[in-house]
């Protein structure tokens, strides 16, 4: 029973700890997931938009340089254009650009891309200078338009990332605060449960210790009563049986002692009556003899003490022993005739 109750209490505590720990991990994992989302999607989208803006700016610069005749290599222009396509492909899968604030601009940018590529393609392949220049100018117009789009997309995506970060911070604050309160409650509950578990053991142990002390004081009427029927209750029952047995033994000894006292009283009273009468007679005959009278008085006093002792034996209420000589006990007649002292008496539980 005690084992079951302890297991139930401590098991509940463990389960509670587990539940709180798992809840904390799940909540924090959720926050971490959101953080990862912000880091890998929202902020990456911001970076991608920024990079796309840079690539568009590079294409514009390259187109201006080609137009001015200061550049006849197309690597920079083509690299930037291909990088643009990569960024647009990535952003096409990003949910941020599908939001209402940026959707129209992104669609416009996407629709410009094939046109821009065709213009760059014409610029790159055309062997006719005028056709090249026309393609260059058209590509510049497309790039400028895409630049305007990307500025708008950038503002929207940055704002969205900031909103997501703000929401994440708020959620983290709530989770941390909630977990702090939960852990404080958990600590309190743990203390209560542990105290309760300790009380399950310590309270009956205290009572049994007290009962043992009462037994040591030969206070055989002391009994232990426990609330729960468990291992300690079995121990208490065993103690109570032992105490009852000892109490019965003590009672039998007292009865025997009373019978001895009656016998002594009966047998000694006759003898002492005769001795007393003889002492009366002797006192009459020895009147005036001081020495004789002193002897008779001493005999009379001893006789009274004997009568007193016999009377005391009849009044024995309990057996209290005292050392007669080393290793030999004798009845402490004075204490045995007295009621138990208050401090000697244990309370019955």
């Amino acid at each position: 029973m005690l084992r079951r109750r302890l297991l139930l209490t401590l098991g509940s505590l463990v389960l509670l700890l587990l539940a709180v720990a798992i809840s904390a991990v799940v909540l924090l994992q959720g926050v971490l997931d959101d953080l990862t989302h912000v880091r890998t999607e929202a902020l990456v989208a911001v970076d991608r938009v920024s990079e796309l803006g840079n690539e568009i700016a590079i294409t514009q610069t390259e187109l201006y340089r080609i137009q001015a005749g200061s550049q006849h290599h197309l690597n920079g222009l083509l690299d930037a254009a291909e990088a643009m396509q990569g960024q647009v492909d990535y952003l096409n899968g990003a949910y941020q650009v599908k939001l209402s604030e940026s959707s129209a601009a992104f669609q416009d940018l996407r629709s410009q891309m094939p046109l821009f590529f065709a213009q760059v393609g014409t610029l790159a392949t055309s062997q006719d200078r005028q056709a090249s220049q026309r393609a260059n100018e058209a590509a510049l117009v497309s790039a400028i338009r895409m630049n305007q789009d990307i500025v708008q997309i950038g503002q929207s995506v940055r704002q969205h990332a900031q909103d997501e970060q703000g929401a994440l911070v708020r959620r983290l604050r709530v989770v941390v605060l909630g977990l702090a309160i939960a852990f404080l409650l958990l600590i309190n509950i743990s203390i209560v449960l542990l105290l309760r578990a300790a009380a399950m053991v310590l309270r009956p142990v205290d009572r049994l210790v007290e009962a043992s002390r009462a037994l040591a004081r030969e206070q055989f009427d002391y009994r232990v009563h426990l609330e729960h029927q468990d291992e300690f209750a079995e121990l208490a029952n065993a103690y109570n049986s032992l105490a009852q047995q000892l109490q019965q033994n003590e009672q039998r000894r007292l009865e025997m002692l009373g019978q001895v006292a009656l016998t002594l009283n009966h047998e000694l009273n006759n003898a002492m009556t005769i001795i007393e009468l003889q002492l009366e007679l002797l006192q009459r005959t020895t009147r005036g003899d001081v020495k004789q009278e002193r002897y008779l008085r001493q005999i009379r006093e001893s006789l009274e003490r004997m009568q007193h002792t016999v009377e005391a034996l009849k009044r024995v209420r309990r057996i209290v022993l005292t050392d007669y000589v080393e290793g030999v006990k004798m009845l402490d007649l004075e204490r045995s005739t007295q009621e138990e002292m208050p401090q000697e008496k244990g309370s019955e539980h």
Partner: protein
């Protein structure tokens, strides 16, 4: 009695740790389409100065760059030197880069090859053999099949779509006009300069021009893609090598030979064949300036009318031994 409890407690502990580990997992980060496209590949070990190879795109520059990157990667692995592709927008740019030693080699069209060899002393090393064993092409002068134009002389005063600095789109059409006496004077057709052969063919079918002077390989490809388009050929040039590798004169016997050797043996290895397939060719063949006899003959026949082609500079001189 103690053992089952110990086992149960241990299992519970292991379960708890496993649960916490599972819950505390590192989130899987979706790297996104952009990163997936740029899958990391271990580049071959390369060292030394980069070999710069110039390209003058004929069409579809972005697809062309991808194809040449395959070739560059293969060469890089073979030569253990970095290969850098330099894209030029015009033949003038490549000639200037040869002069300034900005590029070491280039893949060029036939007419620009001849100009580079003549003016910059560049050496022709290889030509490309396309699938089907095609390593040469012709210039053609064509009109839509339903056109009333039956012969070159009928082009007088008409719009002719042409492509600057190409054999098929510039040299041969001018030669054909000159041969028919309509290159100069009142009968000269109005030249509509287009950026590419494909643009010239499209311009002809769109009505922007009555005829087009183009490369036959591009004409066949465009017609295959547009079966509704039919043409009538008014004239065809002799054959000229397809897309040749030209190396700067001072590097021809060193770097040029290394590049040529690596490319010539491409079709002998599975890796090389795979790269060739991606590049869009069957193999590379040795080539020399003597294979451009057709161009030199036309140039000689044009004589002073070379200036009508709209190409800066003098006409290329026929090297000795070229017929």
């Amino acid at each position: 009695m103690k053992k089952p409890w110990l086992i149960l407690a241990s299992l519970l502990l292991v379960l708890l740790v496993g649960l916490l580990v599972m819950l505390g997992r590192e989130p899987v980060v979706d790297s996104g389409a952009g990163d997936a496209a740029g899958a990391v590949q271990t580049p071959p070990a390369v060292a030394g100065r980069a070999i710069r190879i110039g390209l003058v795109p004929e069409r579809n520059i972005f697809a062309l760059r991808k194809r040449f990157r395959v070739l560059a990667d293969y060469l890089q692995g073979q030569l253990h030197r970095p290969i850098e592709l330099v894209v030029m927008s015009s033949y003038g740019g490549i000639l200037k880069d040869f002069q300034d030693k900005e590029v070491d080699a280039a893949f060029l069209g036939s007419l620009v090859t001849v100009l580079a060899a003549d003016r910059m002393g560049a050496r022709v090393m290889l030509r490309t053999e396309l699938p089907g064993g095609v390593s040469t092409y012709h210039g053609v002068l064509c009109v839509p099949e339903d056109s009333p134009i039956r012969q070159v002389s009928d082009l007088a005063g008409k719009e002719l779509a042409v492509v600057r600095t190409t054999t098929g789109g510039n040299l041969f059409p001018m030669y054909a006009l000159a041969e028919n006496g309509i290159l100069t004077g009142d009968k000269r057709p109005n030249l509509v300069w287009m950026g590419t052969h494909d643009d010239a063919i499209a311009a002809m079918f769109n009505g922007e021009a009555a005829a087009a002077g183009v490369k036959d390989l591009r004409l066949q490809a465009v017609l295959a893609a547009n079966p509704q388009w039919k043409v009538r050929i008014l004239g065809t040039s002799g054959e000229v090598p397809e897309n040749t590798l030209v190396v700067r004169g001072d590097l021809a016997d060193t770097t040029g030979k290394e590049i040529a050797a690596a490319l010539l043996k491409m079709d002998a290895s599975p890796e090389g064949r795979s790269a060739l397939k991606e590049y869009g060719a069957q193999r590379f063949l040795p080539c020399g300036i003597e294979d451009f006899g057709t161009i030199f003959q036309i140039v000689e026949k044009l004589g002073p009318e070379w200036s009508q082609l709209g190409i800066d500079g003098p006409a290329p001189r026929t090297p000795s031994g070229v017929k």
